[in-house]
Each structure stands twice: as structure tokens, then as C-alpha cells.
Amino acid sequence: MIANTLTVLLLLAGLVFFAAGTAGLLRFPDVYSRLHALTKADNVGLGLVVLGLMFQASGPADILKLLLIWLLVLAAGTTAAHMVAQRTWTHGEFESDR
């Protein structure tokens, strides 16, 4: 029962960050600020969801798998954000041409 309540609360908190990430992606003015919106969803949003789901896991293997997924997404998000920022910085924020 407590586990379920914790899961619900953590998931809801995670969803808030996903919503915020999407809102930021849509509303922020340029690439550099939109980066932040993305990384919040990656780091905290998925982190909270994973934490919430861990209470429902059937064993340590499942918990480790969930943790691994979070770590992988963290690494991917960080790398992607860094590289997109770098490319935009060196090559300009050009419109993609045909």
C-alpha cells in the first residue's frame, strides 16, 4: 500500500517534469535554452519515474535493469545535448536546407 502510494506520487512528479520539458521545448526562444528543457525530462523526469517503478519491481535484477535504463538515457541525453549545442555553436543555427 505504501509502495503503491509512493509509486503514484513519484510518477506524478515525473510526469510534471515531462510536461515541463515539452512546454520548454515549445516555448523557449532558442536552441540553447531548449536544451535545458530536454535534459530536465531526461534526468529528473525519467529518474523519478524509474524510482517510482522500482517499488513495483519483482526482484533485484529488475531494479538493476531500471537503473541501467536511467543511466543510459542520462548518458545519451547529456551527449546529445552537448553535441547539438556544439554543432550549433560552430556551424550556426542554420535552417536545414533541402
Partner: protein
């Protein structure tokens, strides 16, 4: 629960159709590529909802790992051709009139015409409408599920899909492996590719991520291959994961990649079909029929074939990504 599921499916369906339409109608190729990546993601969710986790797994590996990278790199090559055409001077290096370059030219000529869109849409609607009508009348058929279930105990594995793919209908699977190989032979016949020299990584983040991801990808690939005997997974999915890891290495090139040597590469690429065929021939000689196994030997033989097939598929995917045949192959 059920109402919510239907709502989820409807939203997903609307998303898939909408994304596909915008992707086709997009005049901006980069936008079309990003939409296609999104399309792959939604499609994986659709496979989940169609209760086909095996295909969702394959779609995840192919869609996330390979298609996106392939399209983005192709787009970049197209751009350099277009830039060359606009400026009237040859891009460096001098474009090879044969080979992959010619393929890209052919893909770009003639430019897409917008007025073909309406006929195409009406054609799609007519065919789609007829299909829906035909599907509407279909009974709820269980297909071959009961027959497969009845034979599971002598199939050598515990996952029905693996049993069908590698035992009951192994011939089809063998030919699918062959098709991957033929596609690669076709790509190689177009021209040669010389590996690009390494270039310095921009900062420590990319090499660091690679150092983390590539080993994890190898472990995951082996895990998915092993899982195939009792759960969704198997050679195609594992091969796609390992192939994506290889593509990551080719893309990032932390250091000079060695030139692929001709003979071992060919042997690696054909290992899957060759081993499969050898096992099949043994079955023919031993009286189990072509591509048949003795019941007791089914599991080890299936595992052997899957390992070789994983290796071949991964190699073939990386080679397809690199596109031209490596210089070592002509030796």
C-alpha cells in the same frame, strides 16, 4: 481499463498516420528524417499494442539505432551533391560518377513533384478503404497458434516465435538471412568505399559515452540473443543491436579504424548462411529432411545458428551503413 486502452490506441493511431503524412508531405528533408525517426518510435509502441514484443524489439534496434543514422548521413551526402551542383564546382573529393554517388543522384532526380501528392493520397485512401473493408469481414482466426503450441515440446526452445523461426519455418528464416546478404552484395557492387581517416573528437564527452555504451551494447546484444530461447529476442534483434554499436563506432571513430580485411570479412558475412546451410545439409543426409534437426539436437544447433547469424547480421548492417565495399575486399 479497456476504454483507456482504446483511447491510447486511437491516439497512437492518429499520431502514426499524422506523422507519416507530414513526413511524406515535408519539403524539408531534414524535417522528414526527424519525423521518420519519430514514426519509428510510434511504430514500436504500436507493435507493443499488437502484442508483438519481438517485432517491437527489432523495431527499437533498427529504428533507434540504424535508420536514423543512415538517413542523416545520406542526407548530408545529398547536401554536398546539391551544394556542388549549385556552385558549379566539384565538391572535394572529385565525385565518383559511378557508385554510391550515382545512387544519390538518381534518388534526387527528378525532384519531387507536389502535384503527384493528391493522386497518391487518393490511391492510398482507396486501397486503405478496401483493406479495411476486407479486414472487417475477417473472422477472429487463431492462425497456427494451436498447432505451434502442440509441437513446442519437441522444438528445442521455449519461445514459440523462435520455434517457428528457427525450427518449423527455418527455410524462411534462412532466406531472410540471405536477403540481408544480397542487399549488401548489391550495395557493394555499386562501388568502393575507402575508410575515412579518424578526426579528433570534439571534447571528452563523446569518447567517454562511447566507452560506456559500446560494452553495454555488446552485453545487451548477447543478453537479447540468449533471451531468444524463452522470451522475445533472438538473432535479428541481437544482430541489430550489435550492428548499431558498430555504426556508433564508425560514426565516432575515436581512433583510426583498421581497414576491414577482405577474406575474414567475407567469411564473417557469410558465416550465418553458411552454418545454417551446413546444418540443413546434415539434416538432409541424416534423414531429418533439409533444414531439419534431430529433436535432441535442436537446442544446441539452433543456438549455434543464432550465434553465427547474429555475427553476420551485425557485420552486414555496419557494412551497409558504410555503403561502399571496403578496399580490402577487392584484393
Amino acid at each position: 481499463m479497456n476504454g483507456l486502452l482504446v483511447l491510447f490506441d486511437l491516439v497512437l493511431l492518429a499520431g502514426i498516420v499524422g506523422v507519416a503524412w507530414r513526413c511524406l508531405a515535408s519539403t524539408d528533408l531534414f524535417r522528414a528524417v526527424v519525423l521518420f525517426i519519430t514514426f519509428g518510435l510510434l511504430l514500436a509502441l504500436a507493435w507493443v499494442r499488437l502484442e508483438a514484443p519481438d517485432i517491437a524489439l527489432a523495431e527499437a534496434a533498427i529504428g533507434a539505432g540504424i535508420t536514423g543514422a543512415l538517413l542523416l548521413v545520406t542526407l548530408e551526402r545529398l547536401r554536398s551533391i546539391m551544394a556542388e551542383r549549385r556552385s558549379g564546382r566539384p565538391h572535394t573529393p572529385p565525385p565518383d560518377p559511378t557508385g554510391p554517388h550515382a545512387l544519390l543522384r538518381a534518388l534526387h532526380d527528378p525532384p519531387p513533384e507536389r502535384r503527384t501528392f493528391i493522386p497518391a493520397l487518393s490511391f492510398a485512401l482507396v486501397v486503405g478503404g478496401l483493406l479495411v473493408t476486407a479486414l472487417w469481414h475477417q473472422p477472429h482466426s487463431t492462425g497456427l497458434e494451436p498447432v505451434v503450441d502442440a509441437h513446442m515440446d519437441i522444438s528445442g526452445v521455449d519461445h514459440p516465435i523462435t520455434a517457428v523461426l528457427l525450427n518449423f519455418r527455418a527455410y524462411d528464416t534462412f532466406l531472410e538471412l540471405a536477403i540481408v546478404l544480397i542487399a549488401l552484395l548489391g550495395a557493394w557492387s555499386l562501388g568502393r568505399h575507402d575508410l575515412i581517416p579518424a578526426r579528433p573528437a570534439p571534447g571528452p564527452i563523446l569518447p567517454g559515452t562511447l566507452r560506456l555504451l559500446v560494452p553495454v551494447a555488446i552485453v545487451t546484444g548477447v543478453y537479447v540473443l540468449w533471451a531468444g530461447s524463452h522470451a522475445p529476442g533472438g538473432a535479428f534483434q541481437a544482430g541489430a543491436i550489435l550492428g548499431a554499436a558498430g555504426i556508433l563506432l564508425v560514426l565516432a571513430r575515436p581512433r583510426q579504424l583498421p581497414m576491414a580485411p577482405g577474406v575474414p570479412l567475407r567469411l564473417g558475412l557469410t558465416a550465418g548462411v553458411a552454418l545454417f546451410l551446413l546444418v540443413g545439409l546434415y539434416g538432409l543426409v541424416a534423414g531429418h529432411g533439409f533444414l531439419g534437426y534431430a529433436d535432441a539436437w535442436a537446442y544446441p544447433l539452433i543456438l549455434l545458428i543464432e550465434v553465427a547469424a547474429t555475427l553476420s547480421i551485425a557485420l552486414a548492417l555496419v557494412a551497409l551503413f558504410v555503403a561502399g565495399r571496403p578496399a580490402g575486399d577487392d584484393a
